[in-house]
Symmetry: C2
């Protein structure tokens, strides 16, 4: 095998506000033949996710920040194209923390095999992958949805939110989704099957947002799935019923904030309404992964859960796709086809 | 029995900010002889509690607001002084939602007998009563303290907080209490036995408060017992460890606010640290009351929990005692001796 030239994106500078293309540097590396026990993977689909924004800055978080000049981290689905490892044969599809690069060499650690029979390759980055697991465990374990309850989902058109909406419908709930464009609202109603969808940008302030949610929730809200923070959390505190639950998955409204955003003024509702808020990270549920594959595999096979994704074509468009997460470009999971 | 003239306090006007004496009206009523099945109670100790502030205003809450011109609600310990009810004999000590009045006539509904052998009469309004139950269930059920963990208690010198501190010590935790005067800090160390106490008024801002707590919590904080809200909650979000728990009992810093107080800017910690926040009201645990009497009764008898109270002498001083809750006049439970 002759050496392979692989392009990769490196963190060039830390963003201030929404990331811009010049935070990223497209570079080339040369990979040599896999050594004994190693194999070469060509990435086919790469993931861009909101959590990556947190790693681009130098702040104490649940994971250390990325270093300047280093390749950007991230999940990807690839195919083994050369191998000196008997467990990973040429042609095998794999998933791993493969980073923003076209090729990589692995010894197998942190790399898993994926079964294209259970779900199409790209779906392993979305509904059948990390965002799907995030939706599944947060809604079911923390939210504990009961038949007939009302679930309000922020970031409903995103990779996680759109799966939350679908699982909540499967559980017999009334589902209200919030998103940031009329196109997303239409998509939520037509493709995701929510009972009601709100374009939060039509609300001039938190009070209007609260009224918009309340209008769609005649029996109040029992679960607020938190992807967004800010005004959405404040509105949720107002509309939640007694014993309401808030799985806290993300607060994307603050990810690009350059100054701290104050929290809701109505946190006192936590007491009177006996609210539960619980933060979590998908990896907290690694021990229950088989539950996810059993249920989600079945729902995908039966068509009860539809795979929804936005595919950006071309490895060189990774920064553009990533930035698009914060400017509302994606319907469902955003992936890049290399 | 000749008619009895009983003084009572009525809600004269709704407070704007910290209540003032002219929000209350001292009036007299005349009580006639108890009819068949009724008995006459003379109140001996009356309770003033922070929750009462919420009922004085006309805002949707977990309980309806008090009506102007009506007698103020509240718990009291009394003695039966005349009776036409065979279940409540003269001399029996009783507890009930007796309101801010010297005497009342009851048919027994909502009135319980108290046993002066288990705890002194006034303690039934504090450590052995509602504030003690609030401390017990919030800390143990929501906080789930483990031996060796660190517990940070706001409002630590109050009726609830001072019991939380003592139970946390019994459970083998390191306890850090926050209060609003040097006298309270000294009292927390000397009488309540906390490991560290902080006068939050010495901190000019949230950052200094965070640093002050962090300095006393070398291993971080595992449980933050929330009585206060505002800067305390924000500081707690910073110092809490992974999987930290926040029983949300009260947010007294906001009770007298005339404009909405923004929440913490660092709520994103809920996600990375997988924090749990859970609001509750003491009556949520009425089904487990026997657990409380078993444990707290034992701790009081053995002296493991000390009764701490501030007694204001004179029924006419009820408004003064109540206002003192918000100006930091009490060490432990504030009661009025009629």
């Amino acid at each position: 095998m002759s050496p392979i030239v692989s392009r990769e994106f490196r963190l060039k500078s830390r963003p201030d506000g929404i990331p811009t293309p010049d935070n990223f540097e497209l570079a080339e590396t040369t990979l040599n033949e896999p050594q004994n026990g190693e194999f070469l993977v060509k990435n086919l689909f790469l993931s861009v996710d909101p959590y990556m924004r947190g790693r681009m800055i130098d702040r104490k978080s649940y994971a250390p920040p990325w270093q300047l000049g280093h390749v950007m981290d991230g999940g990807a689905i690839g195919e083994v194209v050369a191998s000196n490892n008997p467990n990973f044969k040429v042609g095998q599809n794999v998933i791993g923390n493969a980073s923003w690069r076209e090729y990589y060499i692995s010894d197998g650690s942190g790399v898993g095999k994926v079964d294209p029979q259970m779900a199409p390759l790209s779906a392993w980055l979305g509904t059948a992958g990390m965002p799907g697991r995030t939706a599944y465990f947060g809604l079911l374990d923390i939210g504990q949805p009961q038949h007939g309850e009302t679930v309000f989902v922020s970031g409903a058109a995103g990779a996680v939110g759109s799966v939350v909406c679908q699982i909540a419908k499967l559980k017999g709930c009334r589902v209200i989704g919030s998103a940031g464009s009329d196109a997303k609202v239409a998509w939520l109603k037509d493709k995701i099957g929510v009972d009601a969808a709100i374009n939060y940008k039509h609300s001039a302030n938190m009070h209007e947002l609260t009224a918009a949610v309340a209008a769609e929730a005649p029996d109040g809200v029992d679960i607020y799935f938190e992807n967004v923070g800010g005004d959405h959390l404040e509105a949720a505190m107002s509309v939640l019923n007694m014993n309401g639950r808030i799985p806290v998955c993300g607060m994307i409204s603050g990810y690009n904030a350059t100054t701290p955003i104050p929290g809701p003024t109505n946190l006192f509702n936590i007491i009177g309404k006996r609210l539960l808020l619980k933060g979590y990270i998908v990896s907290d549920y690694d021990a229950q992964l088989s539950d996810f594959y059993r249920d989600m595999g079945g729902w995908i096979q039966s068509g009860e859960i539809e795979l929804q994704e936005t595919v950006v074509d071309g490895f060189e468009k990774m920064p553009e796709a990533f930035i698009g997460l914060f400017t509302g470009e994606n319907l469902g999971k955003m992936v890049v086809k290399a």
